[in-house]
């Protein structure tokens, strides 16, 4: 199946439509909430939370003997939140830094989850097959009800975000100020984090524990490069996330043995790479071009000011001088002289140059000397 075929099938084929919608929704919600994580420097929290959700899935299965995704995801939500609060408690009450707390919770919860999963597997009566899919996710297991659940959560988090937009924004950029304004920062913080946990838990089924953090980060990191405005960034991140989901699904549907989760993550990584390189202003390319342009300007100005110093000593500043005067000066080239001529700052007359009035004035004002125009 190639891409055009995929897109023609998407509207008719039930499975394909469900998976595409599911991954697109997931990408959108992750991009939306991930923007806040990236800006708050909590990028790796998503990684820790997604790992911390694993024992919850296993425990929910042991307790309720059900493989229903809503039961398992509730378990994941509970243990994800528990992990988050433990991380918070470690950083607030001990001298361990947040990276250590994240790594600790991530590995300890995951290890415990693994212990439980292998323990379940050895139970004689348990019908446990399928629990492992939460490790790497299996987009193919998405059904319509899952997509409705995702749509619901996306809708709710969108509403909450719109209602608390002002609070989120001010907390993001100036937490101390938010506190002095009288906002309940703890509540806003917990609200924001809870929705992040919710989004992560939703993604477990699709892309799995290990790759979930990239879903959260990559669209947001890509969007960040294109704008300095928060709402533009959030919108762009949602779009990038949804596109990653759709394209990732399309590509993985086209080949055998290509799991959807990793492909989605790689597509998102491509978005990040393109944004890093091509974004206007912040992007590496734009920065490089700006750098080169500045350097050229500098060369030009250097040459002009050198000429100015020579011309100043003559009463008539458009007095022609020979090019040989430049022998000791390394700032000029044929190209820069031609540019100066094009600008109308100098004129050439048989290997003799002279400053024009405009060029003299420009040179005099190069370093903000505010010399009056003659």
């Amino acid at each position: 199946m190639n891409l055009p075929e995929y897109f023609s099938l998407v509207f008719t084929d039930y499975t394909l439509r469900t998976i595409t919608l599911g991954t697109a929704l997931l990408g959108a919600i992750c991009g939306m909430l991930g923007s806040f994580a990236v800006l708050r420097k909590q990028s790796l929290l998503g990684d820790a939370i997604s790992h911390a959700a694993l024992p919850g899935i296993a425990l929910a299965f042991i307790l309720f003997q059900s493989k229903d995704s809503s039961v398992l995801l509730t378990g994941a939500l509970v243990s994800g939140l528990a992990g988050t609060f433990w991380i918070r408690s470690i950083t607030q009450n001990t001298r361990l830094k947040s990276d250590t707390a994240l790594g600790l919770v991530l590995s300890l919860f995951f290890g415990f989850g693994m212990l439980l999963l292998t323990f379940i597997q050895k139970q004689p009566n348990a019908n446990q097959a399928g629990l492992e899919k939460y490790l790497f996710g299996q987009a193919a297991t998405l059904v319509a009800s899952d997509v409705w659940l995702m749509a619901g959560v996306t809708g709710v988090s969108f509403c909450v975000m719109s209602i608390f937009w002002k609070e989120f924004k001010v907390l993001l950029f100036d937490p101390e100020y938010t506190l002095t304004l009288g906002f309940n920062t703890k509540f806003i913080d917990i609200l924001m984090t809870s929705f992040m946990v919710l989004a992560i838990v939703l993604g477990l089924q699709t892309v799995g524990v290990v790759l979930m953090s990239a879903m959260l980060l990559a669209p947001a990191a890509a969007a960040r490069q294109w704008t300095d405005r928060l709402w533009v960034m959030v919108t762009l991140a949602a779009v990038f996330g949804a596109l990653s989901g759709i394209l990732g699904t399309a590509i993985s549907a086209g080949y055998d043995n290509l799991s959807t989760g990793p492909v989605i993550v790689l597509v998102a990584a491509v978005f990040v790479f393109l944004s890093f390189v091509f974004a206007p202003r912040r992007g590496l390319l734009a920065r490089r071009i700006g750098f080169i342009r500045n350097r050229n300007d500098l060369h030009l100005h250097k040459t002009l000011s050198f000429m100015y110093e020579i011309a100043k000593s003559h009463e008539d500043h458009s007095h022609p001088h020979s090019l040989r005067l430049f022998n000791e000066f390394r700032g000029f080239s044929k190209k820069s002289l031609r540019k100066l001529e094009v600008q109308g700052w100098i004129t050439f007359d048989s290997r003799q140059w002279s400053l024009t009035d405009e060029g003299f004035h420009k040179a005099a004002n190069l370093y903000n000397q505010n010399v009056e125009k003659p």
Binding site: H51, L102, L108, G111, F112, L115, A218
Partner: protein, 386 residues
């Protein structure tokens, strides 16, 4: 205990000890999450090495994987240097991408490759004794034992040689530069050692649990001591203990050994997190509560000091005036009584001479902006000793 069981425990113990050494420095340098990144992103190296050699325990795998680890660190640093995103985001972008490439490479060749993605995450310590290192006729024990044994020896040797350099560059990079050895070189050396250790441990305990073994024992030790040598020693001990205890836990539950080891690590950390003297949750909680009470007591005494009229010093009025919850007012009052700072006659509270002295001194310290001096007053007046 069979020979295989003994060998498994020995391997687990050595892995835990080998991880704890670079882990200690990662925790102190606030780079714990780098170990998570490395442990995931070495996957493509392992897969490529396996495709080339078709042998899961070939040394080429270790080399390629370690190269991948170093590549990860360099990529993260490069992305960070562009200033486009913060360091943690850089980590979070690099390792899932590399890991995805590894997973896809495995999946695409799933049929003819004996390399399971689950094993990558989990490792399988129980099979380690079957893969033996045999030269000619001699059985020299499990290969894993040799791999991790040499890595541990390497770490210990490097640690012995460069202890001073590591210590100074960890706690004071500027001083290290001034003294003439490059913190950057030490940094890259440490990263390489962390990568090599991760690869060695990876085979036995899998990607995620390497992180646990690297971070949890040093973090636990850090809550108990300020001394780098003691911290290293404690971390190694915690690691070794968890390895042995985890093995037996797994044995009785018939579950993943690596998972059980991490669970024990978690249990040990949680216990220390709760009860560590001075730095644990309980003592922090207790200290904060006591400090709140002390501040309240000071406020209370100063209030009494200010109001000489009987009317202002009635118990009910005070509660209203200072606006405390009933419980806190009671505990402050009883603390003041126990320390002979106040007396109650009927429902009127008055300062004793000791209370006067205390309040006077406190006011003097506050008005002369020497508020820290109040701390020493607590000892002088035997506060909390009653």
């Amino acid at each position: 205990m069979t020979q295989a069981q003994f060998e498994i425990q020995l391997i687990a113990m050595l892995v835990a000890m080998a991880c704890a050494i670079p882990g200690t420095f990662l925790v102190l340098r606030k780079m714990a999450m780098i170990s998570d990144a490395i442990s995931h992103s070495i996957l493509p190296g392992i897969v490529i090495g396996f495709f080339v050699t078709q042998d899961i325990s070939s040394p080429l795998l270790v080399v390629l994987a370690a190269l991948c680890g170093v590549l990860t660190v360099m990529l993260v640093e490069w992305i960070q240097k562009t200033g486009l995103v913060k360091e943690d985001t850089a980590i979070g972008l690099v390792f899932p991408a590399l890991f995805s490439i590894g997973v896809i490479m495995i999946a695409r060749n799933a049929n003819d490759v004996h390399l399971d993605v689950d094993a990558v995450l989990l490792g399988e310590l129980a099979f380690a004794p079957f893969d033996r290192f045999i030269i000619g006729e001699y059985d020299l024990g499990p290969k894993a034992l040799w791999v991790i044994g040499s890595i541990l020896t390497l770490s210990v040797t490097l640690l012995g040689l460069f202890f001073k350099e590591l210590k100074i560059s960890t706690f004071d990079p500027q001083l290290a530069t001034a003294l003439g050895f490059s913190p950057l070189l030490i940094h890259h050396g440490l990263m390489t050692l962390a990568s090599v250790t991760t690869v060695g441990a990876f085979d036995a305990v899998g990607a995620v649990l390497v992180v646990g073994l690297m971070i949890a024992p040093p973090a636990t030790a850090y809550l108990l001591t300020d001394d780098l040598k003691k911290m290293l020693g404690l971390a190694v001990c915690f690691g070794a203990f968890s390895a042995i205890a985890g093995y037996w836990l797994a044995h009785f539950l018939d579950a993943s050994i690596a998972g059980a080891i991490t669970t024990v690590l978690g249990f040990v950390f949680f216990t220390v997190f709760l009860i560590a003297p001075g730095k644990g949750w309980l003592s922090v909680w207790h200290r904060r509560r006591r400090q709140r009470l002390e501040v309240s007591l000071l406020t209370f005494l100063l209030h009494l000091h200010n109001h000489k009229d009987v009317e202002e010093r009635k118990v009910g009025h005070l509660r209203e005036h200072i606006n405390w919850q009933k419980v806190r007012a009671k505990s402050v009052l009883s603390l003041a009584l126990n320390n002979n700072m106040v007396t109650i006659e009927g429902d009127v509270v008055s300062l004793t001479s000791k209370g006067w002295k205390f309040a006077n001194e406190a006011i003097e310290h506050i008005s002369s902006d020497k508020t820290t001096a109040i701390e020493s007053m607590k000892d002088e007046f035997f506060l909390f000793r009653a």
